[in-house]
């Protein structure tokens, strides 16, 4: 099929289409590779890598909410060296750019990981995870304080061999201030990460062992759309990969309409493991029906 209408070029990333799985919702692809050809994807945002292996939080780590879910996984991962030698190696057999999600508790953690991981042959960009709400030591502070975020981003830029996208947290007073603080250093933005939330059981007790978790899924789409809409007005040219609750091709068009360049699918990969290839197909058909030559012809139409 001719998918010229879906091809997108972003710093470091030549995307066959704008659809990619979001970090933490796809692990490192191996499980999904048994279901479909990973080369069909625009890119893959792999699970967060930290310097040392991390165990994560105690269970229960997930809870369902109305049209969404809470997670408090706590960035469990085998550490950057293992990820380089095994998980990223495995992905080399596919013709798909990898966006490496980099996390840490201190600036040095981030720079060590970014330095190493940006040298992997298939890693074409870094997604700087300054916004995970489930990591107590330091993690969240990078995502909520503009000055700290700026300092971290520039340090990571110095060591990274590939473009750096900063993943913004919605858990801030002003998303625009956060975007502006990193906007002239970062090569792009990804937004949004999960919103802090909690859920109680019938006995009035928090379900998650961590008490709070990150809210994701269709419930957060309106929040994410609004944040991208606002940021796009202040930063008309910065590449933005949008995410939050995408479940249909129409949802993707909404993200493009508020000014996103490409999109990522998170939670819905759990609900329907075939969702990414299904949405690529559906999006292509939709543009055909609409008579739109290229997806980006619709970009930013919400402002007109």
């Amino acid at each position: 099929m001719n998918r010229e209408a879906l091809k997108i070029s972003l710093p470091g990333l030549e995307l066959k289409n704008p659809v990619m799985p979001a970090s933490g919702c796809f692990s490192f692809g191996e499980e999904f590779s048994k279901l479909y050809d990973l080369s069909e994807l625009g890119a893959i945002m792999v699970k967060a890598a930290t310097h040392e292996p991390r165990i994560g939080n105690r269970t229960p780590r997930v809870a369902e909410t109305s049209s969404g879910m809470l997670n408090a996984i706590g960035l469990q991962n085998p550490g950057v060296d293992h990820i380089l030698d095994h998980e990223l190696k495995f992905l080399e057999q596919y013709d798909v750019p990898i966006i490496a999600n980099v996390a840490g508790s201190e600036i040095d953690d981030y720079t060590i990981v970014a330095d190493k991981i940006s040298k992997a042959p298939n890693v074409k960009a870094i997604e700087l995870n300054i916004s995970c709400p489930n990591v107590k030591e330091g993690g969240i502070q990078f995502g909520t304080d503009p000055e700290t975020a700026r300092r971290l981003t520039s340090r990571v830029k110095e060591v990274s061999d590939v473009p750096v996208y900063v993943k913004l947290s919605p858990n801030v007073t002003s998303i625009v201030d956060m975007a502006l603080s990193v906007g002239d250093i970062a090569d792009g933005l990804t937004m949004i990460n999960t919103l802090v939330g909690m859920r109680l059981d019938g006995n009035g007790q928090p379900i998650l062992s961590n008490v709070t978790g990150g809210l994701s899924g269709p419930a957060i789409k309106p929040v994410s759309l609004n944040m991208i809409y606002q940021v796009r007005q202040h930063l008309p040219h910065i590449p933005i990969i949008g995410m939050g609750g995408i479940a249909t091709a129409d949802d993707i068009l909404d993200y493009i309409s508020v000014g996103a360049d490409a999109v990522a699918i998170g939670t819905m990969n759990f609900t329907d493991p075939m969702i990414c290839p299904a949405l690529i197909e559906a999006l292509d058909e939709k543009l055909g029906e609409m008579g739109v030559g290229h997806l980006h012809d619709l970009k930013g139409r919400a402002y007109k």
Partner: protein, 249 residues
């Protein structure tokens, strides 16, 4: 792995306990007892998480399988409203089930809604010529199900916490009264029951655990449990069945 199945029958078989028979091609890949399916509640985005439910009975000849579940929360209550001809989106078969070993006589212990996967297990062991004795524990008479079905496969003892049916007390109270030599035990039920069994039974054993799940197939890291060696492994792909002592309960 992902499949649309058709509901053939659905019946309430005890208080809040429903038995649903499903038909579809994917049944062909269901082999090991103790594996589970991950059920999507409906095709809207109202419920984003699937529900893990054990496979209770496999009927390869008719491409059918059975699940037995408690309609307790929002999702399972919705499932209980489905009837013949309705369809259900499931991921299956998931997880590692019970190892089928050629023993002479085994003890099968179930607690409450942990009983269902043990039925297919006992069926398969009986086909292999293994003698099975079943001890099933429930809260009360109204909660008891599958007594006759297990009875047809081997000695079956019921314990109820309130004494309204079978012996009063817990499964362990019944087990103490049994005068037989077992080669190993297989269990599924509340964590406390599995813990007591693991600690008190002087036998090899296999236990099936539960944990809240995001994906059910190993990608989200929601369902981890800690091994005796201190590793954190995923219950949905490395379990839900583990050897006694392998996992910290």
């Amino acid at each position: 792995m992902k499949n649309i199945m058709t509901v053939v029958a659905q019946n309430r078989i005890a208080d809040k306990i429903h038995e649903m028979v499903l038909e579809g091609e994917i049944t062909g890949s269901m082999k090991t007892p103790g594996q589970f399916v991950h059920v999507r509640i409906n095709d809207t985005t109202e419920h984003v998480l699937r529900r893990p439910i054990s496979i209770a009975d496999i009927d390869q000849e008719n491409s059918r399988f059975t699940i037995v579940y408690r309609a307790e929360g929002e999702g399972t209550k919705k499932l209980s409203k489905l009837g013949p001809g309705d369809t259900l989106d499931i991921l299956s078969p998931l997880g590692r089930g019970y190892p089928l070993e050629q023993n002479a006589h085994v003890l099968i212990v179930g607690g409450g809604i942990g009983v269902p996967p043990l039925y297919e297990l006992s069926k398969q062991l009986n086909i292999m010529g293994v003698r099975t004795t079943h001890v099933l524990g429930f809260n009360s008479k109204k909660d008891v199900f599958y007594e006759d079905k297990f009875g047809a496969l081997g000695d079956t003892h019921i314990a109820t916490a309130d004494g309204s049916h079978g012996m009063e007390g817990y499964v362990t109270d019944v087990i103490r009264t049994l005068d037989a030599d077992f080669d190993c035990f297989y269990a599924c039920g509340p964590k406390m029951m599995l813990k007591v069994l693991s600690e008190t039974m002087d036998l090899e054993g296999y236990i099936s655990l539960e944990e809240r799940m995001g994906c059910g197939f190993g990608v989200c890291y929601a369902c981890v449990c800690e091994t005796a060696e201190g590793d954190w492994i995923k219950l949905c792909t490395e379990g839900p069945v583990f050897r006694k002592g392998e996992i910290i309960l």
